[in-house]
């Protein structure tokens, strides 16, 4: 499903004219299969978030190929990237990234609005998903009126609303207590099994990583496959 070949990326740091290149990703090649839950684990600065940003199309790689299905996304323009994200990706962020001025319902509805779906079709679908994540009761609440766990559930519902085949989760439980963390991880596993969605989870947490089918370990811009809990 996701094939990455010789992916490299570096950042320029320092004052203008005296910049130097710092390599962040050093020729990564790996594959993620359809319907898999894959964790990419690493310490801060290992390059795991940069990898996610490049896979999602937020950043353009210096070199290398990313192929999702039959499409080479690494060659996309900004416009093509945005369209592809809307149709194929869902996102779960560490700090939820909900719109503060929109209710839970409106936040979940937003990607459908962007996709140009008609109002009556949106309503039904949003209600179904809010029921799935157990938030029907609070659908008219604004994010600041919800708990962290509830906010993350809204975020998951928003990620699912366009039926994307792939969901990128960047530290999905990073802002949650351990009990809520377990709830969210169980929800992810359940969605993976019932809907066949591919999850790519970026985390520094062994417990979270262990819930994945496969674990990649990132260190200093390089990637190795293997167990996490015992390997780190």
């Amino acid at each position: 499903m996701i094939q990455v070949q010789e992916l490299t990326h570096s950042f320029k740091i320092g004052k203008k004219g005296k910049e130097r290149q710092v390599p962040v990703l050093k020729g990564l090649s790996f594959t993620i299969n359809e319907g898999e839950v894959v964790s990419i684990v690493g310490r801060s600065g290992s390059g795991k978030s940069t990898l996610l940003h490049i896979l999602a199309g937020f950043l353009k790689p210096d070199a290398g190929i990313i192929q999702i299905g039959n499409v080479r996304t690494s060659a996309f323009s900004e416009m093509e990237s945005a369209k592809f994200r809307l149709d194929h990706f869902g996102f779960i962020f560490q700090n939820f990234q909900l719109m503060p001025g929109l209710t839970a319902f409106e936040n979940v509805e937003l990607p459908l609005k962007l996709a140009g779906v008609a109002k009556k079709d949106r309503r039904k679908k949003v209600q179904q998903l809010l029921q799935l994540v157990g938030l029907t009761e609070v659908q008219d609440h604004y994010p600041n009126e919800l708990s962290g766990g509830q906010q993350q559930r809204v975020s998951i519902a928003r990620a699912l609303i366009t039926d994307p085949p792939i969901i990128f989760a960047d530290e999905p439980t990073g802002s949650l207590d351990s009990e809520t963390e377990q709830d969210i991880l169980l929800l992810i596993q359940s969605l993976n099994k019932t809907r066949g969605i591919t999850f790519v989870i970026i985390t520094h947490d062994d417990t979270v990583a262990e819930t994945a089918d496969r674990i990649y370990r990132m260190h200093d811009g390089e990637l190795t496959e293997g167990g996490v809990h015992h390997a780190i």
Binding site: H53, A56, F58, L59, E78, M79, A82, K83, R85, L86, D87, F89, F91, F93, N95, Q97, L98, M99, P100, G101, L102, L110, P111, K113, L114, A115, G116, A118, K119, R158, T162
Partner: protein
């Protein structure tokens, strides 16, 4: 994203910053209203001056002067393209006296072709047009200028003719100004019609309008007393009337090209219109400066909106909003400010214009101490739909241009940086 959803999105953001948006709209309103009211003064003065020129004048009339004008030339002019009528009026250039039932007056005789006069609106208030050379039409003030011969020159208030003129005969005599006695020959004329009153109250029409057929008879009397071959009894002027206003310039130009001296009100109006076009353009330009000043407010508001919403824009881009959509949403917001500001400004401008036309004449007449001023038809401010369209186009365009840069800035927001922003 559907258009309705885009409108909803913009509306939600505007609701969040009501006060700031209100102040920006207020600035846009003031700028646009200033432009409209300022330019409306130009339109008002232009309209007043046009009306003043057109008042009681025929706009399709071209006055033609030629030292060698004669009936043959007039006939040639009648055959021209786009010429509706040619009126060749000739007036008697020497002293004249009329006498009717013991009432005496000094009336000028004008000979003309009534058929042509009728085509261009020569109308009677009473009677009919002459059918032979001794029948005449008199001006509407003819009777008032007939004074009873016994009271003439006396200190008492002169008595004027009060009876009906239709069907009355009067004697018409001519003479030279430098000689006391008039020529002894009398011509008896019958009044068959009275011309309609001139539109302007202060114009007195005491003329005698006779058919051109009487000219040989009067010329015979004149040449019997005046030996100077160069002197003429009649002097005339020719007015050519175009079939419609659009053809006045063409008719006028053709006559000029053939060596005639011409004057038409259309020429005067054209010059006036050119002057006022420049004048109004100048006023619109000055007014536009006010809108440009207001646009600084729109620019600031939109820049702040983009800065405040950086994280939201980042989230939208992350979940798949295209840069074009982001740009459109912000442009719609600035356009909305421009549109609402313009609508309010148009309403206010009409109000100000109405009040100005109502109050200014009173103020001016009070200041000048002229009571008559208020009765004059002076319009201080007119807002035609064209001015509303021009002002709206300028205002909304300037608002959108002001929002353009902030909107571009929004599209360039880096998703990763935006997502890292704290709530």
């Amino acid at each position: 994203m559907q258009f309705n959803d885009q409108i909803d999105f913009v509306r939600q953001h505007i609701k969040k910053n009501k006060l700031r948006v209100f102040m920006t709209i207020l600035a846009a309103t003031m700028g646009t209203a200033f432009l409209i009211v300022l330019a409306s003064v130009g339109f008002g003065i232009h309209d007043t001056m046009r009306n003043e020129i057109l008042d009681n004048r025929l706009v399709n009339q071209v006055e033609v002067y030629s030292s060698e004008m004669d009936q043959a030339k007039v006939e040639e002019l009648k055959k021209r393209e786009h010429v509706k009528a040619v009126v060749f009026r000739q007036s008697v250039s020497i002293n004249q006296q009329t006498e009717l039932d013991g009432f005496i007056g000094s009336h000028n005789m004008t000979v003309t072709e009534f058929q042509e006069e009728a085509k261009v609106g020569f109308a009677l208030q009473e009677g009919r047009l002459p059918e032979n050379k001794h029948e005449v039409v008199v001006g509407s003030h003819f009777a008032e200028s007939l004074i009873e011969s016994e009271t003439e020159g006396a200190e008492a208030e002169p008595s004027t003719y009060k009876q009906s003129l239709i069907g009355k005969q009067f004697t018409y005599k001519m003479g030279l100004y430098e000689e006391k006695e008039l020529f002894p020959e009398e011509t008896t004329l019958t009044i068959v019609g009275i011309a309609k009153e001139p539109a302007k109250d202060w114009v007195m029409d005491t003329n005698i309008y006779a058919d051109a057929a009487i000219m040989p008879e009067l010329n015979r009397i004149f040449t019997g007393h005046v030996e100077d071959m160069d002197s003429q009894l009649f002097y005339g002027n020719v007015n050519v009337y175009a079939d419609n206003l659009e053809n006045v310039t063409a008719v006028s130009k053709a006559l000029k090209d053939e060596g005639y001296s011409v004057y038409s009100i259309a020429d005067q109006l054209e010059q006036l219109d050119v002057f006022f076009l420049a004048f109004k353009a100048g006023l619109v330009f000055v007014g536009t400066i006010a809108i440009l000043i207001a646009s600084i407010g729109i620019f600031n508001t939109m820049t702040m909106a983009v800065t405040e919403r950086t994280r939201e824009i980042g989230v939208m881009k992350a979940i798949g909003a295209s840069p074009k959509l982001i740009q459109r949403l912000f442009l719609m917001e600035s356009a909305w400010i421009g549109i609402v500001g313009t609508i309010i400004a148009v309403v206010i401008s009409y109000g100000v214009s109405f009040i100005a036309n109502l109050v200014l004449p009173i103020i001016v007449s009070t200041a000048l101490g002229e009571e008559e001023f208020t009765s004059l038809d002076i319009t201080f401010s007119i807002i035609p739909w064209q001015l509303v369209v021009i002002a709206s186009a300028i205002s909304i365009t300037v608002a959108m241009i002001s929002g353009w840069r902030p909107a571009r800035k929004a599209t360039k927001i880096d998703v990763i940086q935006a997502l890292r922003q704290e709530l």
